[in-house]
């Protein structure tokens, strides 16, 4: 136990990152006004992978580490769409995932928003529509915020969420 405590002390407190200013979030395309009035300043996010290569998933997981610490700005990943305000969708929507995506979207209570994460979900990735994929998320459910990148770095994703809350 003493080794564990010593390691915690040795790691120390990491400098917290401020909520980014609105003008810094240049690459993020959003259609709705701030969610703060509708959803408050804490967002519950449900992630759905619709055929991603898992690059975007790695960065979503990285958002939980002590450096990006997404929870510190009030954003929490939840296990069920019924607990969620936001659906975070990655991947080029494989045809086999179109129906599960619609079902997950329907299970999120209103008011809700959809964030398309990564080039594939935004329709500008390496996976153009073909016999196995639909294309971008917006072709299946309405998208409010698009975050391009392959994969988008965690700073960008964090800023997108911060923009939704802080605006």
């Amino acid at each position: 136990m003493h080794k564990l405590l010593r390691q915690i002390v040795k790691t120390g407190m990491l400098r917290s990152r401020p909520c980014p200013r609105r003008d810094r979030a240049r690459d993020i395309h959003t259609s709705p006004p701030s969610l703060a009035e509708e959803l408050g300043r804490a967002l519950a996010v449900r992630h759905v992978d619709t055929g991603s290569c898992n690059g975007c998933e790695l960065e979503i997981q990285a958002l939980g580490n002590a450096i990006y610490n997404l929870a510190a700005i009030g954003v929490r990943l939840v296990a069920s769409p019924r607990h969620a305000d936001i659906l975070l969708v990655t991947g080029p929507v494989a045809r086999a995932m179109a129906a599960p995506l619609r079902a997950t979207y329907d299970a999120v209570p209103a008011p809700k928003r959809v964030v398309a994460l990564g080039d594939c979900a935004c329709g500008c990735g390496v996976y153009s529509p073909n016999y196995a994929t639909v294309g971008k998320v917006d072709d299946v459910i309405p998208v409010d915020v698009a975050i391009p990148g392959c994969p988008p770095p965690p700073e960008t994703i964090r800023e997108a969420f911060a923009t939704l809350i802080c605006r």
Partner: protein
């Protein structure tokens, strides 16, 4: 060497005495055309003598007058053996391998889904085909253009039912509770005890092989590097090796060494992430935080030195698209020292943590005999005591001079897979230090000429296991087919066995200890 046998235009030799031809490339790969009888005879011989199935796939070679061709790659004795069997274009059929090599079962089902080549295997259910296309559509046929989706209700998937007093089913997925990829798990349980697990994959099938048919071989690396992001360097590397084999391209030594540096870095990054996730699932949030920090700093180094956090697009046909200077070398040396110090300290803490060890020890046990019978490869095989590591068994440059050491554990449980990851971080860090000290000078990339050869195979020991890319070309009609194989094809069925009689709440931990690919498998 020609894709078509020079004697008669239709490649046939009688009996197992087939004509082997050595393919270019760093691996000792022999290729032969076989007929039905020798296909079966060779598979029986290799099965009896400890040969291993690497991959099985098919290609539509009707434009070249060969009908549909079934390919299989085995390792046996001191070489890789790639056999190709031409089957009639109007009634493609071959002798199943899954009675000898159970790991072939899903590959055989996928072969039918994609090309309509049937075999005498028992399980006729679709594997990759969901509602995206119908039972009479075969997307990898050259004349396939588009298929209409089929409603799920019209084409239900029959899971195997377990019956008896008190048995009930738990259906999980395709959308999971965590941030992971989609797949379906059907548990049959009594109370909390797992009697049977049946996996259903294929949800993330993106038609990658079809996409690759329409792309130039030297341009498709960006797509291949995005089949499975956590193994992007290994995928891009295996693809580059295969393209270089059909292009007769020699990679400069510095490029070869830099590739090994990238592959070992990828292995470390993934092991760090997995160890953190295993601590999390085992109930030690401290470990998750600590390994999360280590991994993040490691990724930041990669972004700084190689231009991408996960090393995407760094390995290209002909060499690598990055280089390191002396500042980068000392940077990485310092990083190695700090990383080893930190992981050793954390390993002590984890090994001493009774609560965590109680979760790890004995959970998801897969003994050596069963792992061997199921065809286990890579990390999961090594945790069950099986020597399986391309870097040692078939060391191609620079591993022939690096002399990698194998990291083996015998007990085959979650604790063993944790221990193999810790040991491999040590070993990869050792290899990285040797690479940094001894890397030759010179160019990092050679121009890759337009491909002229007909067959090329590349393989890289990724962090999960061997990633194999095979290219078949018919230059006469300017066609090529690229087959990409992820070790998860072999290792997903292991999970079904490892969880038997474990508790349902232990499943996430056991699953994470394998951490298999969905996108890499479904493609």
């Amino acid at each position: 060497m020609s894709f078509v046998h020079p004697n008669d235009g239709f490649p046939m030799t009688r009996g197992p005495a087939v004509g082997w031809a050595r393919l270019p490339g760093p691996l000792p790969v022999d290729h032969a055309w076989v007929d039905d009888a020798s296909w079966r005879a060779l598979c029986e011989q290799w099965h009896a003598q400890d040969g291993r199935l690497i991959t099985l796939w098919g290609s539509d070679e009707r434009p070249a007058g060969l009908g549909f061709v079934v390919h299989a790659v085995f390792t046996y004795a001191d070489a890789w053996h790639w056999i190709s069997l031409a089957t009639p274009g109007d009634r493609p059929r071959f002798s199943a391998l899954s009675d000898l090599f159970p790991e072939a079962a899903r590959l055989e089902r996928a072969l039918f889904d994609l090309l309509g080549i049937s075999c005498d295997a028992r399980d006729k259910r679709p594997w990759l085909r969901h509602e995206a296309w119908g039972p009479a559509d075969f997307p990898l046929r050259r004349d396939f253009t588009q298929a209409a989706p089929v409603p799920k209700e019209a084409d239900p998937y029959p899971f195997v039912r377990v019956q008896g007093a008190g048995v009930h089913e738990i259906a999980v997925g395709p959308v999971h509770a965590g941030t992971i990829e989609p797949g379906h798990f059907r548990f049959s349980v009594v109370g909390d005890e797992i009697l049977r697990l049946e996996e259903r994959l294929g949800y993330t099938h993106k038609g990658i092989a079809k996409r690759l048919e329409g792309m130039g071989l030297t341009d498709a690396g960006r797509l291949v590097g995005r089949v499975c992001a956590d193994s992007t360097a290994a995928y891009a590397g295996a693809y580059a090796l295969a393209v270089e084999a059909v292009s007769a391209c020699a990679v400069p030594p510095r490029g070869v060494w830099l590739r090994a540096l990238l592959w070992e870095r990828e292995r470390i990054a993934n092991h760090l992430g997995d160890l953190g996730a295993l601590c999390q699932d085992g109930g030690l949030a401290f470990g998750h935080t600590q390994f999360g920090l280590l991994k993040e700093r490691y990724l930041q180094t990669q972004a700084r030195l190689f231009g991408h956090r996960y090393l995407m697009d760094t390995i290209v046909p002909g060499g690598v698209a990055c280089d390191i200077d002396s500042a980068a070398i000392s940077d990485m040396e310092r990083e190695c020292t700090a990383l080893l110090e930190a992981t050793r300290r954390l390993r002590h803490i984890i090994d001493d943590h009774a609560g965590l060890q109680e979760r790890f020890l004995g959970a998801g046990r897969l003994d050596r005999t069963r792992a061997r019978a199921l065809g286990a490869v890579g990390l999961a095989a090594r945790a069950s005591g099986i020597h399986s590591d391309l870097r040692l068994l078939w060391p191609s440059p620079p591993y022939d001079s690096l002399k990698a050491r194998i990291c083996l554990q015998e007990q085959g449980d979650v604790a063993a897979r944790v221990a193999v990851r810790f040991d491999e971080i040590e070993e990869s860090a050792r290899l990285i230090r040797v690479i940094l000290a001894e890397i030759p000078q010179g160019p990092v990339r050679a121009p890759c000429a337009p491909p002229k050869g007909t067959l090329g195979l590349g393989a890289v020991e990724g962090w999960r296991g061997p990633i194999v890319v095979a290219i078949t070309r018919t230059p006469e009609c300017a066609r090529h087919h690229v087959h990409i194989h992820d070790p998860s094809w072999q290792n997903w069925p292991l999970l079904e066995h490892a969880v038997l009689l474990d508790l349902v709440p232990d499943f996430p931990l056991i699953n994470k200890s394998f951490n298999l690919a969905y996108s890499g498998h479904d493609q």
